[in-house]
Amino acid sequence: MLSIKNLSAAINGKTILKGLNLEVKEGEVHAIMGPNGSGKSTLASVIAGRETFEVTEGEVTYLGSNLLDMPAETRAREGIFMGFQYPVEIPGVSIANFMRTAINEKRKYLGLEPMTGAEFLKLMEEKKKMVDIQSKLTNRSVNEGFSGGEKKKNEIFQMALLEPKLSILDETDSGLDIDALKVVANGINLLRRKDNATVVITHYQRLLDFIIPDFVHVLFDGRIIRSGGKELAIELEEKGYDWVKKEK
C-alpha cells in the first residue's frame, strides 16, 4: 500500500529525515516509536503532503502511484488520514459542518453525489457511538475549547467518518487518561479491516497493550534504526531508547 524508499526531508533548510525506508501492506498495523525530536511527526507530515517540509530525496509510492506528486488534499481524498499530534482550533466552524464539507469534497473527487444532510446525520450518529462521543460535541467549533482527550477522540471520530485506507496517527495516545486511552484504542481497533492499514506513532508502549501491532519500528535521528514484532516495543520499554542507540 505504502512504500517509502530512502526518504530525506528538510524544514527551513534543516534535514530531519535522513534516508528512511518503510513498507506498509494492507491489513497491517505498524507502530513507530522513538524519542522526542527524532522525526516522527515530520514523517507523518511528509506522507500527508504538508508543503512546509521539503522532500530532498527518495520515493514514496501509495497504491501504485507516486505520492509525492499529489497535493495534500488529493492524498486525503485518496484515503490517507493523519491524526494530528496537536489538533488545531477552527473557531466558528462546527465539527458537523467541517466533516460534511470534507466528506462531500471527497465524494465529489470520487465522482459521487454529495451526501444529504439527513444521510450525514445518520452517519454521524453511527460513528459517534464508536468513539463514545457526546452528541453536543459535534455542534461545537472544531477543537475550540476541547480538553486534550476530546481533541484526540475527535481525531478518531473524523477518521471513522472518512473511512481512510491508510491512517497515520501521531501520538493519539499522549495526554490521555487510561479510560480515554481505551476508548481511542477501541475506536482504532473497530476501524481495523483487511483492506486498510494503520501506522500508530507513539512514545509509550502503553498504547500497544490495546492496539496490537504487526510491526514495531524505532525511529531515531531521521532513520528507522530497528524493526521487529510487538516484542520490540516491550524490550524498548524495559531497556529505554539508549539501548537501541548504543546498538546502532
Binding site: R77, M82, P87, G92, V93, F98, A102
Partner: protein, 482 residues
C-alpha cells in the same frame, strides 16, 4: 431650459405613468456636470412636488460650500464633479441578446452563488422573458403588503402617492447639511426605496429591493427611507450578492430609518459592487450615509452588513438612541482583497436613558488591501445608564494587507458603561493544513475559516441572505492565499 423641461413634462405625463419610475422614456440623460439647472432638470424629469425641488436646491447650494472629507483612511484620485452625468433614466434596454455574450468569468461567479438562470440574465443585463419580468413577482408581493397597509415602493412613486410622508420624514435623520456626500445625494438623488409600516403591524415578509430589480439600475445616487410606526416590525434587505458592474464610478447613497415607540427595524445589506480589477483599476467608489433614529422608547434598530465589493467603501451606518430604553446594534463583516480600501464602522449616539448598543465588527483583509474600522460611541449627559459593548476583530490573509481600528469615545455621563474588545489574527498554516488533510482544498479551507470567523455576524442575516453571503465571502477571497 424652460422649453426643454416642458417637453419632458409632457412626455412624462403623456405616457403611461402607472409604474412611476420605470416609464419608458428614451433620450433620458441630463447634460454632464452639476448646476442648479441639473437639479431642476432631475426634479422636472421626475415630475416632483414643489417641496422636493426646494429641498434639492437647498442641498445643492449647501453642497457648493463644502469640501470633500479627507479624514478617512482611503486614497483615490480627485473626483471631477463636473464630469459626471447626474441623471440617466433607468435603462430597460438589454445590453446583451443572449447569455453567450456575457463575460464567462461573471457567469462562473453566478453559478457559484447559485443564482437562478433568469435572475442571472437580469443581473448581467441580458434580455429577460416577459413572463419572468420582476413586475409579476412584485405585484403578488405588493398585494400581501397592501392588505396590511404597508407601503413599499420606489422613492419616486412615494413622492407621487405619499408626498406628505416623504415631506414629514425625509432629511430628518440625515439632513442635507450632514456631510459632503449627503448634500450631494440630497441635491441629485435619482431614486430609491420607501417603506412605511403602520402602527402595530409586523411586516410578514422580508422587504427586499430584490423585488424591484428595475431599481437596481438607479444605483448611483440612491435614497432609502424607512418609517416604522409605534409597535411595528420590519426586516429590510438591501443589495445583492451578485457582483454588480456599473459604469458609474461614484456612488453616494443615503439611508434613513425612523423607529417609533416599541418599533423594531432590522436592516441587512450585502454590498458587492464591482471592486475593480486585480491591479485595482476601475471599481466603484461607495460613499454612503446611513443613519437610523430610535425615536420612541424601547425602539430598536439593527444594522447588519456584509461588505465585499467596491474599490473604496466609506460607510458608517449609525444610530441615534433617543428614546429611553432604546437599543441599537451594528454587525459588520467587511472584506477587502487586492487593492480594495474600506473605511467603515458605526456611530452610536446615546441620548436617552438606559439605552444600549452593541457593535460587532469583523474585518477581513487580503492582498494589498486596507481595511479600517472607525467607531464612535457617544453618551450625552442625559443618557443615564447608557451601555455599549464593542468588539472589533481583524483577520489578515497574507502580509501585504492592512487592518486599522479607530475607536472613539465621548462619554458625558458617569453612569455609562462601555466595553471594548479588539483582536487581530491570521489564518495559520496549521489551520489550512488541517483542512487540506481532510480533503478540503485551499479555497474551500479559506472559505470555511473565514465564514467561521464571521459567523457571529452572518447569523444575524435573514436565512436566504446568509447562505448567499457565506458563498460570497469565499468567492471574494479566491486566489488570496497560495
Amino acid at each position: 431650459m424652460e422649453n426643454n423641461s416642458d417637453k419632458i413634462l409632457e412626455e412624462v405625463t403623456g405616457s403611461d405613468y402607472k409604474y412611476g419610475f420605470y416609464t419608458d422614456i428614451e433620450m433620458d440623460q441630463a447634460p454632464k456636470g452639476l448646476s442648479e439647472d441639473t437639479v431642476r432638470f432631475i426634479s422636472a424629469k421626475k415630475n416632483e412636488p414643489e417641496f422636493m425641488l426646494e429641498f434639492r436646491l437647498k442641498a445643492f447650494r449647501h453642497w457648493q460650500t463644502l469640501g470633500e472629507p479627507d479624514w478617512a483612511h482611503v486614497n483615490y484620485p480627485p473626483i471631477d464633479y463636473q464630469d459626471i452625468i447626474y441623471y440617466s433614466a433607468p435603462k430597460k434596454k438589454a445590453t446583451y441578446e443572449s447569455m453567450d455574450e456575457v463575460d464567462p468569468e461573471l457567469l462562473e461567479t453566478f453559478e457559484k452563488l447559485g443564482i437562478p438562470l433568469e435572475e442571472q440574465k437580469m443581473l448581467a443585463g441580458v434580455a429577460v422573458d416577459a413572463v419572468m419580468d420582476s413586475v409579476s413577482v412584485g405585484s403578488t408581493f405588493k398585494k400581501t403588503l397592501a392588505e396590511q397597509g404597508i407601503i413599499f415602493c420606489s422613492f419616486s412613486e412615494a413622492l407621487q402617492k405619499h408626498p406628505e410622508l416623504i415631506k414629514k420624514y425625509m432629511g430628518t435623520v440625515v439632513p442635507y447639511t450632514d456631510n459632503f456626500f449627503a448634500a450631494l445625494n440630497s441635491a441629485v438623488f435619482s431614486d430609491g426605496s420607501f417603506a412605511y409600516i403602520p402602527k402595530g403591524v409586523k411586516c410578514p415578509l422580508e422587504l427586499s429591493t430584490y423585488f424591484r430589480i428595475n431599481a437596481a439600475n438607479t444605483g448611483q445616487f440612491e435614497r432609502t427611507l424607512i418609517v416604522a410606526e409605534e409597535g411595528s416590525y420590519v426586516s429590510y434587505m438591501e443589495g445583492c450578492t451578485a457582483p454588480i458592474r456599473d459604469e458609474n464610478q461614484l456612488h453616494a447613497a443615503i439611508v434613513e430609518i425612523i423607529a417609533h415607540k416599541d418599533a423594531e427595524v432590522k436592516y441587512s445589506t450585502v454590498q458587492n459592487w464591482w471592486p475593480g480589477d486585480k491591479e485595482g483599476k476601475g471599481g466603484v467608489y461607495n460613499f454612503v450615509t446611513k443613519r437610523g433614529i430610535c425615536e420612541g422608547d424601547r425602539s430598536k434598530i439593527s444594522w447588519t452588513q456584509v461588505e465585499t465589493g467596491s474599490a473604496i467603501t466609506w460607510k458608517y451606518p449609525s444610530l441615534v438612541l433617543k428614546g429611553d430604553y432604546s437599543s441599537g446594534e451594528f454587525y459588520s463583516v467587511a472584506v477587502t482583497n487586492n487593492y480594495q480600501q474600506a473605511d467603515t464602522g458605526t456611530k452610536m449616539i446615546h441620548l436617552g436613558r438606559n439605552t444600549k448598543s452593541t457593535i460587532i465588527s469583523k474585518g477581513i483583509s487580503a492582498g494589498h488591501s486596507n481595511n479600517s474600522y472607525r467607531g464612535l460611541v457617544k453618551a450625552t449627559r442625559r443618557a443615564e445608564n447608557a451601555r455599549n459593548f464593542s468588539q472589533c476583530d481583524s483577520l489578515l490573509l497574507g502580509d501585504q494587507c492592512g487592518a486599522h481600528t479607530f475607536p472613539y469615545l465621548d462619554v458625558g455621563n458617569r453612569s455609562t458603561i462601555v466595553e471594548h474588545e479588539a483582536t487581530t489574527s491570521k489564518i495559520s498554516e496549521d489551520q489550512l493544513f488541517y483542512c487540506l488533510q481532510r480533503g478540503i482544498d485551499m479555497e474551500g479551507a479559506i472559505g470555511l475559516i473565514v465564514n467561521g470567523y464571521a459567523k457571529e455576524v452572518l447569523s444575524k442575516l435573514p436565512m436566504e441572505f446568509a447562505v448567499e453571503a457565506q458563498k460570497l465571502l469565499s468567492i471574494s477571497l479566491e486566489g488570496s492565499v497560495g
